[in-house]
Symmetry: C2
Subunit: 337 residues, 2 copies
Amino acid sequence: MDLAPARGAATIEEVAARAGVSRSTVSRVVNGSTAVSPAALEAVRRAIEELQYVPNRAARSLASRQTRAIALVIPEDTDRFFGDPFFGSIVAGIGEVIGESDYVMNMLIASDDASAKALGYLRGGSVDGAIVASHHTSDTFVDRLADAVPVVYGGRPARVRATDHYVDVDNLRGGRDATQYLLDRGHRRLATIAGPADMPAGIDRLQGFRDALADVGLTPVAVEDGDFTEAGGADAMRRILASGEAPEAVFVASDLMARGAFTALREHGYEPGRDVAVIGFDDSAVATSLVPALTTVRQPSHDQGRHMAMMLLDVLAGRATTNTAILPTEIIERASA
Amino acid sequence: MDLAPARGAATIEEVAARAGVSRSTVSRVVNGSTAVSPAALEAVRRAIEELQYVPNRAARSLASRQTRAIALVIPEDTDRFFGDPFFGSIVAGIGEVIGESDYVMNMLIASDDASAKALGYLRGGSVDGAIVASHHTSDTFVDRLADAVPVVYGGRPARVRATDHYVDVDNLRGGRDATQYLLDRGHRRLATIAGPADMPAGIDRLQGFRDALADVGLTPVAVEDGDFTEAGGADAMRRILASGEAPEAVFVASDLMARGAFTALREHGYEPGRDVAVIGFDDSAVATSLVPALTTVRQPSHDQGRHMAMMLLDVLAGRATTNTAILPTEIIERASA
DNA sequence: CTGAAAGCGCTAACAA
DNA sequence: TTGTTAGCGCTTTCAG
């Protein structure tokens, strides 16, 4: 009984030889086929164990035309990916579901400079499907990806095609509700710090804001883009403040930007929640860590992640599934508005 | 001139046929061989373009025995991975270097429940090498990984083997310096909130603390483990405070835990920096976001990431390289100590 | 229940 | 400079 082969990994051939069966039989037990005699099964198992055999994925995927891997593509730069708790939640949700499947999930950061390589990887058949975690309208990248493997988008894609699968939250409604909340508390001079104009989530929340205001015949005091980052939120708030009298209340399209807005407000001598009401969007960990605690629109990111993963699994399994899902948002009242 | 094949991706065979050359010639141009005539090169390029040809990675890697992919393995659960800015820095550093190479990097979250699958993926030849971002002594997982592909560790592995490659920061020295800093400011009753006892980084920082104290004949007032999370840091601080008189100063083995410690201190009526000096470790974004700003030991995580990536690339290329690198730390003085 | 045989799409000698 | 020829390690009919 000798050890594992000195050089390189054991092959199915070696396992077959040691177990005294054919390659086919080894393949059957590896793939859990029932049509194997107990004796053969036992012999093969022993051989696998002794040789520390692990099937070669390239060979397997070449022959079977599937990889049992899915990609989680992040079209953002690393800083934003790690800086915004939103991504953590969504990845956790996806990971939970994929973890219970027999797919492995590999995360790819496809920022501008890395996207060509990532695309080649994906289009070369390295994965059976992909989840794209966020979406910029400028990403021609995802389109080229989508016609190579099944894709599920996080958030409505910029140009929706009939066959697109995606899971979004109701951003329009969320933006509208947040604004209505502010209105209900008697505020009339409202401003907003919006998300990027090239992301549907940013566009929709802003539209909700405008709609709610239009309903009561009001116009925004100011609209500034804050690109979903803390620094961007602070800068946007500064621009709003620089442009004249401070608004009574501001709807900020993400909690992280709201944190920036708090900073900028204080620089100008305004205390958030007392002098200027602030409502955020996300309900991530930063909402509760802020002082005063941030009133915000909760979006179920973790659930969104789960939904996306389940949807992709359905598609891969050829199961019937809806193409889209829109998850509800909810106002979480705290101290800032 | 027809379109790309209706079903499935184009193969090298189809490209060859359309360009009027053999498979080998196509392979040569795809792989950038110089030994191709301008005419053939042009014909092949056109065919590739027209057919939207992308080489199949499984086939390629089966034949060439390499994948041109590396894995970034995260043996942590998702919350900790996204919760601690340390990981963001290190990933950014790694990504920078890998991004310039022709390898693609895929991140694998190998928490306990996902590690078996991840291991199979890795051992099955899906990548040419791996970087393991953090290391728990309990991870038998990484050992089994290491005898399948070249691995570079972030931080000294628990059991160092002669052939191990790793890049660490000087945690022992960092812990010692932090403690000395506190001592130099006249504090004598020192406590520490340590990292997990199953991680070399935690062990070393604690040892540095003990060493510095022992040098001047002092013993710690308290030593509590805070598992590198904010909540863990808060709990540890509470235990320290519950056990008697408050320490004059505390060395906290990570910035995130220091944030938790701030909270716990205030719960007990102590103002960090005024009543109790606090020094952290990392110099991540949380250090500057704290009020008062956190005095801390800076570790060059971004650089560490870069080093790891370069080291792995060296190994994969068969270039000579040192097996280990220890990066220096530095005290960053702010307001909390 | 088992084995033989034919590829999966590509690279890499080797000849020409 | 180019094409021919073998595989890489596995799955998958198809017979038996």
